[in-house]
């Protein structure tokens, strides 16, 4: 059993690497090595789910949102739950790559690339959900302020419009940040590639990067600026998403604690997803030396921090309901804990409050398999938390006559699982066409580590 000090002493880079060996190890995944059976199996399963997603979305467009279980009064359910969940997952990537860069955390180096990819794909999934959710999705662009001949603008008081800006900004900045970090590595791939088409494609994407000192100087300052731009988004995006609910008057939504509550929840689920992806990835591609127990340990500790903020939010919600003496808020809390969806509430408590407590033990944090299991539990817990916030607030609000139990349909689950499948498929594709770990930064890290030794 590992103890606390041993785990903290684990290096962020295990072994000795030269520039060339780092390049080989990472670029070979893309350029040389045949697909691992684990990758093939993963691609097969996620591909099947992605097809399910395609079918579900096609049927949705043909028949309408009525194929889902949404009803009166629960007019929002799985689609919005998925949306919030996916946006939240994206947050860890930005946090790792931008926040930790500004804080000069060296351990971010080997995890930032794939975490950013995770962000991009998660935000893409998130972006799809509100569109699918619309009654008339083909008019989604009416939410965007564009100069049309009718002179009709969006309604600025609606948080959904703020959402459009928040998500739009987020996806643009994330993409730019990610791409900028990739440029040097794309040039490496261009140089290492044997096939002509690879050289052409990577060459075009590398934008003529030559590794010139001036390039590096400009890259460093631009990258830092981008990080500065991206960092506030970690806070702002999910705050705005939370306003979708907090602005509403529904008991269970109408609460000032929502922005920090949502941001913490987002990071919580984001780190969980990062661990979920990192553990199999380092195993399948033999990257244990680059993504060490130290990385996992750090992410697990961050999860634990988020867990406490989230737990605090749960308690404050309950406290505020009784402290306010608002009968609707009290009824909402009691409905959550004892109503028809009480199982969801207690599952949330179990997944997000109880299970993560095991992360106190270094022995647990040191075991990738245990971490993976806990991360999966937290992922599920965070999805359920969003479901709880949305559905158990709506299903019993002000007028008891309107109360109704929401029951999801096959197509609800198909959309959720399908989006996970598509996300995983995209991620697996990313692993095979782009370097999953930043080669350039790893070289720098190897030199730094070597110098320290």
């Amino acid at each position: 059993m590992t103890d606390e000090s041993a785990l903290a002493a684990t290096p962020v880079l295990a072994g000795r690497y030269t520039d060339a060996s780092i390049t080989d190890k990472i670029a070979d995944i893309v350029l040389v090595r045949p697909a691992h059976w684990g990758w093939v199996a993963g691609a097969f399963v996620s591909g099947a789910l992605a097809i399910l997603f395609l079918v579900a979305v096609s049927w949705l467009f043909i028949d309408g949102v009525g194929i889902w279980g949404v009803d009166q009064p629960v007019a929002w359910a799985f689609a919005i739950t998925n949306f919030v969940w996916w946006v939240g997952i994206g947050h860890a990537g930005t946090f790792i790559s931008a926040f930790l860069l500004l804080l000069r955390q060296r351990w971010r180096t080997s995890v930032n690339r794939f975490a950013e990819a995770m962000t991009i794909f998660a935000v893409a999934m998130a972006g799809l959900m509100p569109i699918l959710h619309l009654g008339r999705p083909w008019f989604f662009y009416w939410l965007i302020p564009y100069p049309d001949i009718m002179n009709v603008w969006p309604q600025w008081r609606s948080p959904l419009i703020w959402d459009i800006f928040a998500i739009g900004t987020y996806i643009i900045v994330s993409l730019l940040f990610w791409y900028m970090g990739l440029i040097a590595d794309l040039a490496t791939l261009r140089d290492a590639a044997k096939k002509r088409w690879q050289r052409v494609v990577y060459g075009l994407l590398a934008l003529g990067w030559r590794g010139d000192a001036r390039h590096w100087a400009r890259f460093d300052s631009a990258y830092l600026l981008m990080a500065g731009l991206a960092t506030p988004l970690v806070i702002s995006v999910h705050s705005v998403v939370s306003l979708d609910f907090a602005i509403g008057n529904t008991p269970g939504w109408h609460s000032t604690i929502f922005p920090p509550y949502f941001v913490a929840g987002a990071l919580f689920s984001g780190f969980a997803m990062a661990i979920t992806l990192a553990v199999p990835m380092r195993r399948v591609f033999h990257l244990e030396a680059f993504i060490t127990e130290r990385h996992l340990d750090n992410m697990a500790k961050l999860m634990l921090v988020c867990c406490f903020i989230v737990t605090y939010s749960y308690l404050v919600e309950i406290f505020m309901a009784y402290y306010s003496a608002d009968p609707f808020a009290i009824a909402m809390v009691e409905n959550r804990m004892g109503g028809p969806y009480a199982g969801v509430y207690w599952a949330v408590v179990l997944c997000n409050v109880v299970v993560p407590q095991s992360l106190w033990w270094a022995g647990v944090r040191a075991r990738p398999v245990a971490l993976f299991a806990i991360a999966i539990v937290v992922n599920i817990g965070m999805w359920l938390e969003r479901f709880m916030i949305i559905v158990t607030s709506l299903n019993r609000d002000f007028l008891p006559s309107a109360w109704h139990i929401y029951v999801p349909t096959f197509w609800d689950f198909a959309t959720l699982l399908g989006s996970i499948g598509l996300f995983v498929l995209l991620f697996l594709g990313f692993l095979r066409v782009l370097p999953a770990i930043s080669i350039a930064e790893m070289r720098k890290l190897a030199r730094d580590v070597g110098a320290e030794r």
């Binding site: 009166q72 009416w142 309604q155 602005i247 008057n249 008891p400 309107a402």
Partner: protein, 1060 residues
């Protein structure tokens, strides 16, 4: 695959007409045959060629469908707009029947298409309001499943061929031997005259009347009490005390719409009447009552006995009452073998009653004694004749004659219909009937199954059934003759007080339909005459002098003036200022006084003897049912009393194919698309039954399985099951919906069946309830005030409601220079009849979504009736609250819509811009009243016949769009156009929303809040006026007046097991 019907029948029909104005019109008749197939096609099975045929037919319909006015002259309603321009609806006065009793209506037609029904303000049964069935009639007219051609043994045939066959059969039996005519309750003077003529010409022919919902018990009861059948006509508006013994005065009694109005007006007045109700199956009247006693339906007889005894006690009329009651008991007492007289019987009855029943009785008796001459006691139609006889005696003893007028029965030739059908069935089985003509009705489905009417009918050599749909009876008959709908044909009918209304068609028959008048005219002399000529000639004979003026006036006003006065009855003066002659009530009361005391001296007619025996007498009924609660019964089955009642929305089953009525949440239960066995909460707990469990109900002759619904306020050890479901040939909408309860209906036990074995069986059936939670959870939703506080507030000694002053808001207030619309809903007047829901559906093109969607909570009604229970589940107080859009001043929906589809207009409405809506549904989430409705699927499909019903002034919403109540903005706009043309302001009362217009109790008032003199401002000036969820600062423009209750009649607090 159906084929396009041959053209020939329609040409033949066209040729039958006396006039055609040109070849175009004659040709226009040809494609008329086609649309039937257009609408009966199953779209997925359309082959290409058939599809082309349909398209051609549709095009022909579209081209030819614009001029569908009847050939004869019809007269628009007198207050309706003159036909001064295109695009304006035209109203025609007419009449529709519910169980034979007419209610006057105004049929709104748009470009010749009837699209909406309103009440006729001049008609005494309507006074401008209607019930749910009347509202739904327009959908029945356009029902795509209506039969479009006559059928002979299932094959399409023609009206002329039917006429020929019928004529030959009548000629073959010149004295009428073997010819039988079966009608429903006939209140039509013209039809009665025709039938009489036929019977005079063919003396051996037989006429039978049978309507499943009939007044046999009422007429038999009056025969027992008064020696002749009379129709009681009540003046609830003048009563100080109303006692309803299992009588649904405002929901089911003939004239219910009018009664509801009278009671509401009286309750608003200075002396508020007290309503006492005793019933086993919860009804609207029970919910309205100030004091409600839960007692098994079969024990009402005992209760009536006891009430008679208490009323009679120590009074001079005691002997008279005792005689009447005892006499009545004697009929029933034959079974018990112990004929008792007067007070003795009643004493026994009182002793057998429970403590709460005795307390209720004491209170009622005291109330009645204190209001002699100003009280009305009513027994329900399903109560046995003996109860009606007792009630007659009680009313007479109390001197209530002025309020309970009697007149000759509204139905012509009012015999016992149950006996009449039984006699017909035995004649049929004995081979004494060779030709049977059935005008309407559906006796194969809706009749006591022990008669096996269907079996007897199939054996007949020749039978014909005139009906709108090729139903169960049509399938068993030789001929199915397609009937013309009431909105397409001429006729006349009497209302509950005898007032005659002439029914003029608002449209020419859509298909090859014919009316009962036309069929009977063939019987009379072999020549089919047009309905118009028959009805007109009859009235011309009645009013030879100045006939044209009389005819025009009758058609224009929708009533035949002074027709009620031709009978002995007094005509009810309208509570408002309607101009109708009022014959003195003295005639009626003196007539009653002349009747010898009850039936003690003369032997009751045979029919009554049967009836009285069949009805469990007061003293025997109770013990028969008592062991029900005993768990140690030998079989393990539970013995209960079963009450079979017509369905609240489908009636006896005739409305089963009406999707509006199927989807209308049934008052009290809010169930849709099903029926269920109602049981009491205590019974459910005792026998471990939950909602949606299946139980088996077994009588001596039949077994029926039905899902259970726990009904607060239901009597213990009793089950109520509604008739009218489980149809097999209703049409695509009604087939197989719910459970057919008719097998349990026996001609001996009839509506109240004692000793039914109930057993739980495996399985569950999901029931589509529109409302799944029934408690107010301590929230201030339906506000209750005591009678005393209400009286104080009517003056000025009342503190204004708490939340009248709006709290602060971030947004600046809106300014309204012109109108500012608002609504007030009086919860004390609302009786939960749901007419507003269906009127709104008809007016606003609201789609029907079906059972599965209702189960998902996706019903689309823009105004719903919330129903809450308060108090103990065994005897709760039932509260209704209609909830349309509140049209908030600070509307939460407007703030969150990202695309400005939900916006505030310059007159304060929250309007929904359908073509801007993208369907985020945030508005619905943010609406605390949850009045928004979303088109989850494309609910409105293009069915040509149904398209024709739609209101052209209201957009049909597409899939993915939010919709909600708009305060009938199209009606506001129509009024605005009229006002603008007159260069004036819209006057108060000029805009009447659909829900307001239909409301029997005038619970809903709509108007301009900027007009200080408006009716809605008068309502809102009450200090009791309150806004729903006012603490949210939404500032609704729809506000409520509280329900007024007797403070000391507060139901006991709920103790566990409250309805969930």
């Amino acid at each position: 695959m159906p084929e396009v019907t041959p053209i020939s029948p329609s040409l033949a029909t066209a040729a039958q007409r006396r006039f055609w104005r040109g070849l175009d019109e004659l040709e226009g008749a040809a494609p008329r045959e086609v649309p039937q197939d257009v609408v009966t096609f199953e779209p997925p099975r359309l082959a290409r060629r058939a599809f082309l045929g349909v398209m051609a037919a549709s095009a022909a319909l579209a081209a030819g469908g614009c001029s569908r006015a009847p050939l004869e002259t019809i007269v628009p309603y007198r207050n309706g707009p003159a036909q001064d321009g295109y695009g304006k609806p035209v109203f025609y006065a007419s009449a529709l029947e519910r169980d034979g009793y007419a209610i006057g209506v105004l049929v709104e037609t748009n470009m010749g298409r009837p699209t909406k029904i309103e009440g006729n303000p001049l008609h005494p049964a309507s006074l401008g309001a209607t019930d749910i069935f009347t509202q739904a009639a327009v959908l029945e007219l356009w029902d795509p499943d209506r039969s479009t051609a006559s059928l002979r043994n299932g094959a399409v045939d023609t009206w002329p061929r039917f006429v020929t066959e019928l004529r030959e059969r009548v000629i073959a039996a010149p004295d009428g031997d073997g010819i039988a005519l079966l009608t429903e309750t006939v209140t039509s003077p013209t039809l009665h005259d025709q039938i009489r003529t036929f019977l005079e010409g063919h003396p051996r022919a037989r006429w039978h009347q049978y309507q499943p919902v009939n007044r046999d018990n009422v007429y038999d009861g009056s025969r027992l009490a008064l020696g002749e059948a009379v129709e009681p006509v009540y003046r609830f508006g003048d009563a100080a005390v109303i006692v309803a013994l299992d009588a649904d005065i405002v929901g089911a009694l003939p004239g219910a719409v009018r009664h509801a109005r009278d009671i509401a007006v009286a309750r608003r007045g200075a002396t508020r009447p007290t309503i006492h109700a005793a019933e086993g199956s919860p009804s609207l009247t029970g919910a309205l009552a100030d004091r409600r006693l839960v007692i098994r339906t079969g024990e009402i007889a005992m209760l009536a006995d006891a009430l008679a005894a208490q009323i009679g006690g120590g009074e001079s009329s005691a002997a008279q009452v005792g005689g009447a009651a005892g006499g009545a008991a004697q009929g029933g007492g034959a079974a018990s073998g112990a004929p008792q007289v007067g007070g003795a019987a009643s004493g026994v009855a009182t002793a057998a009653l429970g403590a709460d029943a005795r307390a209720w009785l004491d209170r009622v008796a005291a109330d009645l004694a204190a209001h002699r001459g100003r009280a009305i006691v009513v027994a329900g139609d399903r109560q046995p004749a003996g109860v009606h006889a007792r009630v007659h005696a009680i009313n007479r003893a109390l001197g209530n004659d002025a309020l309970v007028a009697t007149r000759e029965p509204v139905a012509f030739d009012a015999g016992n219909q149950g006996d009449s059908l039984r006699a017909l069935a035995s004649d049929m089985r004995a081979g004494r009937v060779t030709t049977l003509v059935m005008l309407g009705g559906n006796p194969v489905y809706a009749s006591p199954r022990d008669l096996d009417f269907g079996g007897a009918l199939r054996k007949l050599p020749w039978s014909a059934h005139l009906a709108l749909h090729a139903d169960e009876t049509s399938a068993a008959s030789t001929w199915h003759v397609a009937a013309a709908h009431a909105l397409e044909s001429w006729g006349d009918a009497r209302a509950f007080d005898g007032t005659v209304a002439i029914r003029q068609p608002a449209i020419a028959p859509l298909y090859d339909g014919h009316s009962a008048h036309e069929v009977v005219s063939v019987l009379v002399d072999g020549n089919p005459r047009p309905g118009h000529a028959i009805v007109r000639d009859f009235w011309q004979r009645r009013h030879p002098a100045g006939f044209d003026a009389f005819w025009d006036a009758s058609l224009r006003d929708g009533i035949v003036r002074e027709s009620a006065a031709t009978s002995r009855a007094s005509v009810l003066p309208a509570p408002s200022s309607a101009k109708r002659s009022a014959a003195p009530a003295v005639a009626a009361s003196s007539a009653l006084a002349a009747v010898p005391t009850a039936a003690t001296t003369s032997a009751p007619p045979a029919a009554i003897a049967t009836q009285a025996t069949a009805a469990p007498s007061a003293t025997t009924a109770a013990p028969a049912v008592r062991p029900a609660s005993d768990p140690s019964s030998a079989t393990g089955a539970i013995v209960v009393e079963l009450v079979l009642a017509p369905d609240p929305t489908l009636g006896d089953g005739r409305h089963a194919n009406n999707a509006w009525l199927q989807e209308l949440p049934k008052p009290l239960t809010t169930l849709t698309w099903c029926n269920a066995a109602w049981i009491s909460p205590r019974f459910a707990a005792a026998h471990e039954l939950a909602n949606e469990d299946i139980v088996e109900l077994r009588t001596a002759s039949a077994t029926v399985r039905a899902p259970v619904w726990i009904m607060p306020g239901h009597a213990d050890d009793a089950v109520t099951l509604h008739l009218g479901h489980g149809r097999t040939r209703a049409g695509r909408v009604g087939n197989g919906v719910g459970v057919d309860a008719w097998p349990l209906f026996d001609s001996a036990t009839r509506a109240i069946v004692p000793g039914v074995a109930l057993a739980k069986v495996d399985g569950r059936e999901r029931l589509a309830a529109a409302q799944t939670h029934h408690r107010m959870e301590g929230r201030d939703l339906v506000r209750l005030v005591s009678r005393e506080e209400a009286a104080r507030c009517a003056g000025s000694g009342c503190t204004p409601a708490r939340e009248r002053e709006p709290t602060e808001s971030l947004y600046p207030p809106f300014k309204y220079d012109g109108h500012r619309w608002g609504m007030s809903i009086d919860l004390d007047a609302c009786n939960g009849c749901a007419a507003c829901t269906i009127a709104c559906q008809a007016e606003n093109n609201i789609p029907v979504v079906g059972r599965d969607e209702v189960l998902r909570g996706r019903e689309m009604h823009w105004i719903r009736i919330d129903r809450y229970y308060e108090g103990a589940p065994s005897a709760p107080r039932t509260l209704f609250q209609p909830v349309p859009c509140m049209q908030c001043e600070h509307a939460p929906c407007e703030e969150v819509c990202p695309v400005e589809a939900s916006v505030h207009d310059t007159e304060g409405l929250n309007v929904q811009v359908y073509n801007r809506c993208v369907g985020t549904r945030f508005c619905s989430n943010n609406c605390p009243y949850k009045v928004r409705r979303f088109n989850w699927h494309a609910y409105t499909r293009d069915v040509p016949a149904l398209d024709a019903q739609r209101n052209p002034e209201v957009t049909v919403r597409m899939r993915g769009v939010m919709e909600k109540c708009s305060y009938c903005i199209q009606r506001i706009e129509r009024a605005r156009i009229d006002a603008d043309r007159g260069n004036r302001r819209i006057a108060d009362g000029e805009v009447v929303t659909a829900c307001q217009a239909v409301c029997p109790t005038q619970a809903i008032v709509f108007g301009d809040l900027n007009d200080p003199a408006s009716a809605v401002n008068a309502r809102k000036a009450s200090p009791l006026d309150y806004a729903l969820l006012a603490e949210l600062n939404t500032r609704p423009r729809t506000t409520y007046l509280p329900r007024i209750v007797d403070a000391d009649a507060a139901p006991p607090p709920a103790q566990g097991g409250a309805p969930a």
